[in-house]
């Protein structure tokens, strides 16, 4: 099992979700994050004082999947999130040793779906 973590542009969340649904990935967790990457920030000015904002709003998606789903899921995220512009984001894949469904106590492959 793998844990797929993606940082995407907030406004691509809807289309990423659509692509994931098409790829039959229905489980996920979403948090909002601030990201610092290639994308340059912008300046804000408050009462005449200029501030560099280089932590930009990003949305983070975490998905635990069985190994055979990894590629499908990654592709779906890319399809939904890619605009070709800097700031599109990153996907990280980490090993997932165990997954437990709290309700039933099921573990592993069955629990993840």
């Amino acid at each position: 099992m793998k844990l797929i973590t993606a940082y995407i542009q907030p406004h691509r969340l809807t289309s990423v979700k659509e692509e994931l649904f098409k790829a039959e990935v229905f489980r996920m967790s979403v948090t909002n994050a601030l990201g610092c990457g290639r994308q340059k920030g912008y300046t804000e000015s408050y009462r005449g004082v200029v501030t560099e904002v280089n932590l930009l709003k990003k949305t983070r998606i975490d998905i635990g999947v069985n190994d055979e789903f990894v590629d499908k899921t990654v592709d779906a995220i890319i399809r939904g999130a890619r605009t070709g512009e800097i700031g599109d984001g990153k996907i990280f894949i980490t090993p997932l040793e165990e997954c437990i469904r709290i309700r039933s106590g099921e573990r592993g492959a069955e629990a993840i779906g």
Binding site: P10, H11, L13, T14, N32, Y42, T43, E44, S45, Y46, K57, T59
Partner: protein, 438 residues
């Protein structure tokens, strides 16, 4: 010596003379015709002054309603637009608008003098001043209605141009036709405090603006040839509710002050009908939203209050209290239906319902005078149509030009980012974590 020094003298008086009456209160007043006129004038001035203050305070109400019903990322921008409607509006109405509205009439169509309140040779300028004051805040009200319907996607500088044109020209011309003694007034058109004159003018300008501007990104999503209507929920319902209560409060100045005199027993009935119509509007809108959507909708009920208020504004003095509830309820139903039709059928994107509240219910209120208040229904229809035509045409031209010179709509990127950042380089809720995936 400053008048406030009276207390000093009082005390001195007490010490040396014992119990002298206070300077401020005891000035001798001759008991004659002059005194009577002085009191009458004072009552009028006080009444109009307080009315004007209340109507100006309605700007806060509009700002809060519009901010609350749109998204957090545009909150500062909508506030700037409201602020500038008031600020630029008052100045423009001083320089130009008042002259066009109440100046010597050119054929009953527009006025031609009194610009900059220049009345050479007039002594009793306080009478001009107080009347200007009360009229000016009405102009600013007409202006500010539009910002809500055009929210979240309009360029700030384009909006500034609009603010100036409506307070200098579009509204004053409507005003001249009617309250300025122009052709509609001569036909016998009656609109006590401005259901059509103020609210519909604002509402139709909002309609024109929303059409020319187009919908917010993500509001009407086309897929497979079908258009899905999405909700872009407002970010602060308590603020919107506060705005509605402020507007209700201010409306007592709007309708009450429109007696134009503090010595007028109609004030009583005007207050009663204003309060009851608002109540009716809330009940009407809540009930219909409950029936249609399965749950009583909060923002619709809030719109209902405003709908009831707009609805009674044309005839608060002639519609009986019992009927005012009916006028309010119908306005409340109308606002829900109108929002539904505009949104789902015509795909006109009006984030706060300004077109329905002010345009549609303004028209309804004007007709209601004919139905419940004894006005000539036909003349009322003529007035509604004439104001609709004038406003739509001029507003379409105005927004069309702004669009042509690329001053109307922000870019898609700016819209996504939010107008607070793109137009003003700031955030309205510094530190708050806000989901920005819309």
């Amino acid at each position: 010596m400053n008048k406030r020094a009276f207390a000093l003298f009082m005390v001195v008086g007490l010490v040396f003379g014992g119990g002298a009456a206070f300077a401020q209160f005891s000035a001798e007043v001759a008991l004659d015709q002059t005194t009577v006129e002085l009191f009458r004038d004072s009552l009028d001035i006080i009444w109009l002054a307080l009315g004007a203050a209340l109507v100006l305070f309605m700007q806060a109400g509009f700002a809060m309603v519009e901010t609350g019903l749109t998204r957090a990322k545009n909150a500062g921008n909508i506030i700037m637009k409201n602020l500038m409607d008031a600020a630029a509006g008052l100045i423009m109405y001083f320089c130009i608008g008042w002259g066009i509205m109440y100046g010597a009439s050119i054929g009953g169509f527009f006025g031609s003098d009194g610009f900059f309140l220049a009345y050479p040779g007039v002594d009793a300028m306080h009478e001009v001043y107080i009347d200007w004051m009360f009229q000016a805040v009405f102009a600013a009200t007409a202006a500010t209605i539009v910002s809500g319907a055009m929210a979240e996607r309009t360029q700030f500088r384009g909006y500034l141009v609009y603010s100036i044109v409506i307070t200098a020209l579009i509204y004053p011309v409507v005003g001249h036709w009617t309250w300025g003694g122009g052709w509609l007034d001569q036909l016998g058109f009656t609109d006590f405090a401005g259901s059509t004159i103020v609210h519909s003018t604002g509402g139709w300008a909002a309609l024109a603006g929303a059409i020319v501007l187009g919908a917010r990104k993500g509001k009407y999503v086309k897929s497979n040839g079908r258009t899905t209507v999405k909700a872009l929920p407002g970010h602060n319902i308590p603020l919107a509710a506060l705005g509605v209560f402020v507007l209700w409060f201010g409306w007592f100045g709007f309708n009450g002050g429109s007696t134009l005199s503090g010595v007028d027993s109609d004030i009583a009935v005007v207050f009663v009908t204003t309060a009851l119509a608002a109540a009716g509007g809330a009940v009407g809108a809540m009930t219909l939203s409950w029936v249609l959507f399965g749950k009583p909708d909060v923002s619709m009920s809030l719109n209902g209050v405003l709908a009831g208020l707009v609805g009674i504004t044309a005839g608060p003095d002639v519609i009986a209290p019992g009927w005012s509830i009916v006028v309010g309820i119908i306005a409340g139903l109308l606002v829900v239906l109108s929002v539904e039709v505009l949104d789902k059928k015509f795909h006109v994107d009006d984030p706060v319902g300004a077109i329905s509240v002010h345009g549609v219910c303004g028209a309804w209120g004007t007709l209601a005078v004919g139905i419940f208040g004894g006005g000539a229904l036909f003349v009322q229809v003529v007035g509604v149509v004439a104001v609709f035509a004038w406003t739509m045409i001029t507003a379409f031209i105005l927004f069309g030009i702004l669009k042509a010179v690329r001053m109307l709509r922000v870019t898609e990127q700016e819209e996504l980012q939010g107008l607070d950042i793109s137009e003003h380089g700031m955030e309205s809720y510094g530190g708050f974590q806000i989901f920005s995936n819309m």
